[in-house]
């Protein structure tokens, strides 16, 4: 019984440590734009998605309230989390504010929710008043300089945003692969769930990377369509290699997905690798260094999987994973947890 209690305590610690231990000079700035709903059902859905994301960023991933801007059609519904009406003017102001206040290493996370359209080769997001086009957003993102930007557009017909916004140090995720997929998109619900729920942390490191969120949402969207026995009318894509072409399936060797794999929400938003806590002893620091090295080697090995003899791969993988397990065990022991 004692043993069980100590493990539960440890589980809680493990949850907290990675976020607290990440590099302190990297923070997230979150901008959520929930566009015009047009009818009550959509108005409610769009608000709900935006509010859930804002709450998850603040309450779960430690983004300070001041770093979260939530613009919505109905800001009066929840003044404690909203920041204003989602008009073109307010959106532009929010970008200007972030550009002026965010540090150079900060990650700017932008989530666009609403009805999208694609006409006359122009993709846009419907806002109260004048809309903003993909090119408008490209210019706004450009105003953030070289900071890492994550732009997620979960609106219908959002696929054209990839081409417009793609660039170095940018992660662009859209719920559709092109502007021609115009039906209501469900991807947004699951993307928000990835940060608000428990299912998306595929590698069990206590954090949800942008890639994990994308893959979780994509797979759950597929499952939803299969379960409803409806034809899939949205194909989410991600682009983070700057080539302006979105990918749907991400493999170890793909060029898309690499940036997203190491980009997180919250403090320490760029690198998820655990760091030694401040004041750690040299021995503990050395263990953290060893752990980072082993994680890197596992990652490198996985990239070679298809080219290696399966038995050799398996043996090498086991050797590294055992070493990593023992290292983690030793870290826990030195930090006072049970082994």
């Amino acid at each position: 019984m004692m043993r069980r209690c100590s493990r539960l305590l440890l589980a809680a610690l493990v949850f907290v440590v990675p976020a607290a231990a990440r590099a302190q000079d990297t923070r997230s700035r979150v901008l959520i734009v929930s566009g015009i709903g047009g009818e009550p059902r959509y108005r409610e859905t769009f608000f709900e998605w935006g509010a859930t994301m804002a709450k998850a960023a603040m309450q779960r991933w430690g983004v300070p309230r001041a770093a979260v801007t939530f613009l919505t059609e109905q800001p009066e519904r929840a003044p404690s989390i909203t920041s204003g009406r989602s008009t073109k003017e307010e959106v532009e102001k929010a970008f200007a504010s972030i550009g002026a206040s965010a540090g150079p290493a900060d990650v700017v996370f932008i989530l666009l929710i609403g009805h999208g359209s694609f006409q006359n080769n122009e993709s846009r997001l419907s806002l109260p008043g004048p809309d903003l086009t993909a090119d408008d957003f490209a210019k706004l993102v450009g105003s953030l300089g070289s900071r890492r930007v994550v732009l997620v557009n979960v609106a219908s017909a959002s696929g054209e945003f990839v081409k417009a916004v793609s660039g170095p140090n940018r992660i662009v995720i859209t719920s559709t692969k092109s502007g021609m997929e115009r039906n209501e998109a469900r991807f947004g619900q699951f993307f928000v769930d990835a940060f608000a729920g428990d299912g998306a942390d595929a590698d069990k490191d206590g954090a949800v990377s942008m890639l994990e969120a994308f893959q979780y949402a994509r797979r759950e969207t597929l499952r939803q369509y299969e379960s409803d026995k409806t034809i899939l009318t949205e194909h989410a894509v991600i682009d983070d290699d700057g080539d302006g072409k979105g990918s749907s399936e991400i493999t170890e060797s793909a060029t898309d997905g690499r940036l997203a794999r190491s980009t997180f929400l919250g403090s320490g938003a760029v690198t998820a690798g655990a760091e030694a806590p401040p004041g750690a002893s040299p021995a503990l620091r050395a263990l953290y260094e060893k752990k980072k090295d082993l994680e890197k080697r596992v990652s490198e090995l996985r990239a070679l999987k298809d080219t290696m003899d399966p038995e050799r791969y398996q043996a090498e993988l086991e050797r590294l994973l055992v070493d990593l397990s023992l290292t983690n065990q030793e870290i826990r022991r030195m930090e006072g947890g049970a082994s």
């Binding site: 493990r7 595929a202 069990k204 893959q215 990593l324």
Partner: protein, 896 residues
């Protein structure tokens, strides 16, 4: 891969069809009475022959009326008179006509003399005579010489500015034969026939050219597997002359191609007009052999051979009959006779092989087709039969090579093309081996299905080998197709097959549960059914008739699990009362030539009842004795007589009495009216139906009472409905309604009993099984709940939550292997949190004592999530050889 294989379709007559004249009107009928040519065109053969004789008498030197007279007499089978009419004159203009009559009677040498005379004398129809000579060579196996002769018709066509219709038909027939060298030439044959139809004068002697050309073109389309284009051509001829025997024959073949039962009626009509048409007699004999009625077939074959003793087609039909009966000596003699006429007649083997396939003799068909291609390396159909049946025997690589050869020579064959396209997808499948099976499963579902499929197959193998005292050669191969169209192509070469599974002996193919909507079928019972065929085919050396093998398979399903296998339905009883169920003596027709769609389902059930009756009354040894008797090549009648000691009629009567007695209650409960019982039952349940009809009234009233909250009254009525027709499990059935009443009353055990009674009849009720599992969980019966979920998996295994529940229940029930299987399924279902799924599987394996498996799976978990702490701890424990991995992990974390 498939892009390289663009199959050809022989088409192109659409523009032509519209050119045909309208059906005969009153004026034309008057004309027919006075004009023998018109009478002939309208199918009034007696009037035509009378008129033509008069014309011949009045002008004996003129060739046209005499040729037409000979043709008319031949068309109605009056060959003696036709020959006499041709011989009445010494004119060389009649030589070709005479030769054609002699060919019909098998007098080939004399026919050749006549054809040569026509050619030498430069008669008007000398080109037709030249073609006929080449055809004689072709029929005698002088293939190269014949092909060279056919080739000269290309020069005839290219060197002429305008050809007569009869010459165009000759050109078409010649290039059609040349198609074995170059398949593109079939299109030129269509072109020539097209021109013959469009020819302004449109007459061959006195005959409408359009008729002959259309029949030729229809036959050409049929040869190239295109019944859709062929039928309008025959139909157009029949609209002008409904008695045209060749058009009726063509239409009968086309309908048979489509699997329509109309074929038999059409061929009957053709033979009424010309009872001595050898081609028609042989075709009907083949239909009868297909229906497994060899005695009737023999009569037609004997008659055909009495007309033309050297007919290769008739002799081949006789060889087929002898082969299927296992009469090897007779088969060898007939084969010798055929090869003496034509030493390279590969179609002998191809025809026998094709019918052997339809009677499930796949290995035999491979042997035969092998001989066909050895005899004639250009026998593209031989390579096709060989390839398709190698595939049925599981020899995939050899099959592919033969199919490629076939397709290269005959790119019109859709079966071959589809099958090659299917073979291109085989790379997506994985082979999973069990003790006695080789499972071919699609990569997307192999991990999910293999544990369940493998276990069930092994269980079925043990059970059935014991019962049938027969052990099939292993491994038995089971192919499982997630796309029904692929299963259909695998089975019959073309999409659209309604079946769920097929057995080729030691190779089975079934739809995977993904191929159909949930609740459409039970893949577990389907597998059992097909494996039972492996036994019955094996015991009978593949000679068991279709009705018996199907009946036994359904019976075995019912023995395997409660609920599996077809059960009595109100529709069956209604059809029984209306006399729409086939008597035992014609039961095969229900499978081979179904007259209405439902009769197939009824026939399966009826066949199972026949088998059940025999087993109940005489024991299973009698069943085995019957199978062995069929294996000796005996017919139904002989088997019934020899094994059961009864005449077939007496057996028929005994079966009827047995059914009437056994289902007396249900027969009373069903009142047959026009709309059918199911219609009334559904109407009653939905409201507005007939309240006074059998159990349907009680079901309806019961439903209304439930709605009004009068559940005690409803219970009594619903119980009575259930008693009246216990097998009714359709919409609004008594079981579901009663279970609802019991559950609401807190009588969980009674609710479970009702639902389990339902599941014991309906093998496809997924929701009922989930409901049973829920109730049993509430009753703390983990084992019973798990059993219900396992039943649901045989209906559809794709619901993740079902396996999660099963894992939990198996844990509670202490069924460690059950936990492993459920955890494997969860991994296979590709969950988002795959690392955890692998970890849970590793843990289950560890707890089941499989440390090596646990280590493999925990590494899979950590490969995805290297810092997954619980998995790391399990890995370290596995390395240290500690056995308390589960104990180290908090209980609530080990669940899903």
């Amino acid at each position: 891969m498939s892009a390289r294989r663009s199959g050809l379709t022989l088409a192109g007559c659409i523009a032509v069809v519209a050119l045909l004249a309208q059906p005969a009107c009153a004026g034309q009928q008057d004309e027919a009475r006075s004009d023998p040519y018109a009478a002939y065109a309208a199918g009034d053969y007696d009037a035509a022959i009378r008129g033509l004789r008069a014309l011949v008498r009045s002008n004996p030197a003129e060739a046209r009326p005499r040729r037409t007279l000979v043709a008319a007499l031949a068309e109605v089978g009056r060959y003696d008179e036709a020959e006499g009419a041709a011989k009445e004159t010494d004119s060389a203009e009649l030589a070709n006509s005479l030769g054609e009559i002699l060919v019909l009677r098998g007098q080939l040498d004399e026919a050749a003399v006549a054809f040569r005379r026509s050619v030498a004398s430069r008669a008007a129809d000398r080109n037709t005579a030249r073609l006929n000579l080449a055809l004689l060579d072709y029929g005698r196996g002088k293939v190269e010489a014949a092909l060279d002769s056919f080739d000269t018709f290309i020069d005839l066509y290219n060197g002429s500015t305008r050809l007569e219709p009869k010459d165009l038909i000759a050109v078409a027939e010649a290039v059609r034969r040349l198609g074995v060298r170059d398949p593109q030439l079939f299109k030129d044959a269509v072109k020539a026939l097209d021109e013959a139809i469009k020819e302004d004068r449109g007459i061959i002697d006195g005959r409408p050219a359009a008729y002959d050309a259309r029949v030729h073109m229809g036959n050409l389309f049929l040869e190239k597997y295109n019944s859709t284009e062929a039928q309008p051509l025959f139909r157009e001829v029949l609209e002008k002359n409904e008695r045209h025997p060749e058009a009726l024959l063509g239409m009968a073949i086309a309908k048979n191609f489509d699997g329509s039962a109309e074929s038999m009626e059409l061929i009957g009509r053709s033979l009424e007009v010309n009872p001595d048409n050898v081609a028609a007699l042989v075709f009907r004999a083949r239909l009868l052999l297909d229906l497994e009625r060899p005695a009737d077939a023999k009569k037609d074959i004997d008659k055909a051979l009495s007309i033309d003793a050297g007919s290769l087609d008739a002799l081949s039909a006789r060889a087929t009959m002898e082969f299927l009966a296992g009469n090897d000596a007779a088969f060898a003699m007939t084969r010798q006779q055929i090869l003496a006429i034509n030493p390279v007649y590969a179609d002998l083997y191809n025809q026998v092989a094709e019918l052997a396939v339809r009677q499930r003799r796949y290995a035999g068909s491979v042997e035969l087709a092998t001989q066909a291609v050895a005899l004639d390396p250009r026998s593209w159909s031989g390579y096709g039969i060989l390839g398709l049946n190698e595939l049925r025997l599981g020899n995939v690589d050899k099959a592919r090579a033969d199919l490629e050869k076939s397709f290269a020579g005959d790119p019109y064959n859709p079966w071959i093309k589809n099958t090659l396209d299917l073979l291109d997808t085989f790379g997506e499948y994985r082979i999973v081996k069990t003790r006695r099976f080789e499972l071919m499963l699609h990569g997307s579902e192999a991990d999910l299905l293999a544990p369940w499929l493998g276990q069930l197959a092994e269980e079925a193998f043990d059970s059935l080998t014991k019962r049938y005292h027969y052990t099939p050669q292993t491994p038995v191969r089971i192919e499982v197709y997630p796309r029904h169209a692929d299963f259909s192509v695998r089975t019959v070469g073309i999409a659209g097959l309604g079946a769920l599974g097929v057995c080729f002996g030691n190779v089975l193919a079934i739809d995977s549960p993904a191929a159909r909507e949930r609740g459409d079928f039970n893949w577990g019972s389907t597998l059992w059914h097909e494996l039972a065929h492996t036994m019955t085919l094996g015991v009978s050396s593949h000679r068991v008739p279709r009705w018996f093998t199907e009946g036994l398979s359904v019976l075995e399903e019912r023995r395997a699990r409660p609920g599996w296998g077809d059960d009595l339905t109100p529709d069956f009883i209604a059809a029984w009362k209306k006399g729409d169920i086939l008597p035992f003596s014609r039961l095969n027709e229900g499978f081979v030539r179904p007259k209405y769609p439902q009769i197939v389902i009824f026939s399966y059930y009826e066949a199972s009842l026949v088998s059940q009756m025999v087993e109940e009354q005489r024991g299973f040894d009698t069943i085995l004795a019957m199978l062995e008797a069929y294996g000796e090549g005996k017919s139904d009648a002989t088997v019934i007589q020899d094994v059961l000691g009864m005449k077939p009629d007496a057996f028929d009567k005994q079966f009827i009495d047995w059914v009437e007695k056994r289902f007396a209650k249900q027969i009373d409960a069903v009142v047959v009216e026009d709309e059918g019982l199911i219609g009334r039952a559904l109407g009653a349940v939905r409201g507005g139906g007939d309240r006074n009809v059998g159990f349907a009234a009680d079901l309806q009233r019961g439903a209304e009472l439930v709605k009004d909250g009068k559940e005690a009254e409803a219970r009594a009525l619903l119980q009575r409905a259930r008693e009246q027709f216990p097998e009714y499990v359709g919409p609004g059935n008594a079981y579901l309604q009663l279970a609802g009443i019991e559950e609401r009353a807190g009588n969980l055990a009674a609710a479970v009993a009702d639902l389990e009674a339902l599941a014991a009849i309906n093998e496809n009720d997924y929701d009922a099984n989930l409901a049973i599992a829920g109730l049993r969980e509430r009753m703390n019966d983990a084992r019973g709940a798990a059993a219900a979920l396992e039943r649901a998996i045989y209906i559809s295994p794709y619901d993740k939550s079902l396996h999660e529940r099963l894992a939990d229940l198996s844990t509670k029930a202490g069924d460690r292997q059950g936990v492993v299987r459920a955890r494997r399924a969860l991994v296979a279902l590709d969950p988002v949190d795959k690392a955890d799924a692998f970890y849970q599987l590793a843990l289950a394996l560890f707890e089941a004592g499989d440390a090596a498996g646990a280590r493999r799976e925990v590494l899979n978990a950590l490969e995805i999530a290297p810092n997954f702490e619980r998995a790391q701890q399990l890995l370290l424990r596995l390395r240290s050889g500690r056995s308390d991995a589960g104990a180290a992990v908090p209980a609530q974390e080990t669940g899903s």
